[in-house]
């Protein structure tokens, strides 16, 4: 089964872009999730939030909406927006691969968030497309955690 491998340099660029988006959109929290619900990176007020659960539910949300889109003969709903009493959440698909989530309150606005998300999405798309094409050569340079893992290591984990 295919794996999604994220290397340090790509992670840094993603983190930088999320930070920029966080600042420029006056957001409370910005995070990136893969479509299977695994958290890739997050920036902002994450201390009191269970980001792992948030990531999984966001991916579930996108998956459910994608299912609805298909039933209606649409390819995808690429943006979701939920308005709350205090906080709002803007969810969008980037490069059809990852999900960009921005949580914001009255210090920002939907218009500003949409604008900044659009700009950041272009940068992130670039990072992910490079990651895809560069993967083969990087694979040789990096030492895989599985390269010399033994059955004993696996047993020990479950000991």
């Amino acid at each position: 089964m295919a794996e999604f491998v994220l290397y340090e340099d790509a992670f840094k660029r993603i983190d930088e872009e999320l930070r920029r988006l966080y600042q420029l959109s006056n957001a409370k929290l910005v995070f990136l999730v893969d479509r299977n619900g695994q958290l890739i990176a997050s920036v902002g007020e994450t201390r009191n939030i269970d980001t792992t659960a948030l990531a999984s539910l966001t991916a579930g949300n996108i998956a459910a909406t994608g299912g609805i889109a298909k039933l209606l003969g649409q390819k995808e709903f690429s943006i979701l927006f939920h308005e709350g009493e205090r906080d709002n959440i803007h969810i969008s698909l980037v490069a059809n691969k990852v999900i960009l989530v921005v949580v914001f309150d009255q210090r920002s606005s939907l218009g500003l968030v949409r604008l900044r998300v659009k700009k950041s999405s272009q940068v992130l798309e670039q990072v992910f497309s490079e990651l895809e094409t560069r993967r083969p050569e990087k694979k040789v340079e990096e030492i895989s955690p599985f390269a010399d893992i033994t059955d004993e290591d696996i047993e020990k984990l479950f000991g």
């Binding site: 340090e8 998956a63 290591d153």
Partner: protein, 195 residues
């Protein structure tokens, strides 16, 4: 699809508990949640109906320890077992690394087991996965009930490829961790094989 993050030094894997309605998928996750140390687990999220039937999925993140400096995390999901939630079930299988099929041992649920297993194969095929080629464990649950099918018969009907199987009483925790350990090991061995 496992997710390996070199920056945070994490390996994330997705396990899905599949099976017919009321077979005990959620009960497996609840028991695991109850018996795991706080630092090893996240919140157990259940998207359920008012009558506690799974509506979309249950989710439990587990971090069991490190392998070669990489933190290994398992994300456990259940699917809604009821027949009419077919569309939701399929969505949850996306990116799965290993499947646990929880079979209900009661005689009257054998047809439901067969139907659910067929549904699993079809849904996996739609993502290009083949049940015979991915990490797969079967759990025969509810072994404490009086009207159950003998294990040999369940094996013959549900497990022709003889994948690892465990007898369980999920409400009491019997066989729950054995099943989880087995699928976890299979997934890591599969990852190892690919390198």
């Amino acid at each position: 699809m496992s997710f390996i993050n070199y920056s945070t030094r994490e390996i994330n894997c997705k396990i899905v508990y599949y099976g017919p309605g009321l077979c005990g998928k959620t009960t497996n996750l609840q028991y695991i949640y109850k018996k795991t140390a706080p630092e090893q687990k996240g919140k157990l999220i259940s998207l359920a109906t008012e009558t506690e039937r799974t509506l979309f999925f249950d989710f439990l993140p587990l971090a069991l320890g490190d392998i070669r400096g990489f933190r290994v995390r398992f994300h456990l999901y259940t699917v809604p077992g009821q027949v009419f939630y077919a569309a939701s079930r399929k969505l949850i299988l996306k990116g799965v690394d290993g499947v646990v099929f929880v079979a209900d041992s009661q005689i009257e649920r054998m047809d439901a087991n067969i139907e659910s297993l067929e549904d699993l194969k079809i849904n996996l095929a739609e993502y290009g996965y083949d049940l015979e080629r991915i990490p797969f464990t079967i759990q025969y649950n509810k072994r404490d009930l009086p009207n159950i099918v003998p294990v040999e018969e369940m094996q013959r009907v549900l497990n022709p490829n003889n994948v690892p199987y465990y007898e369980a009483i999920a409400t009491e925790g019997v066989g729950v961790f054995e099943t989880l350990k087995d699928i976890g090991k299979q997934i890591l061995k599969e990852l190892k094989k690919n390198y």
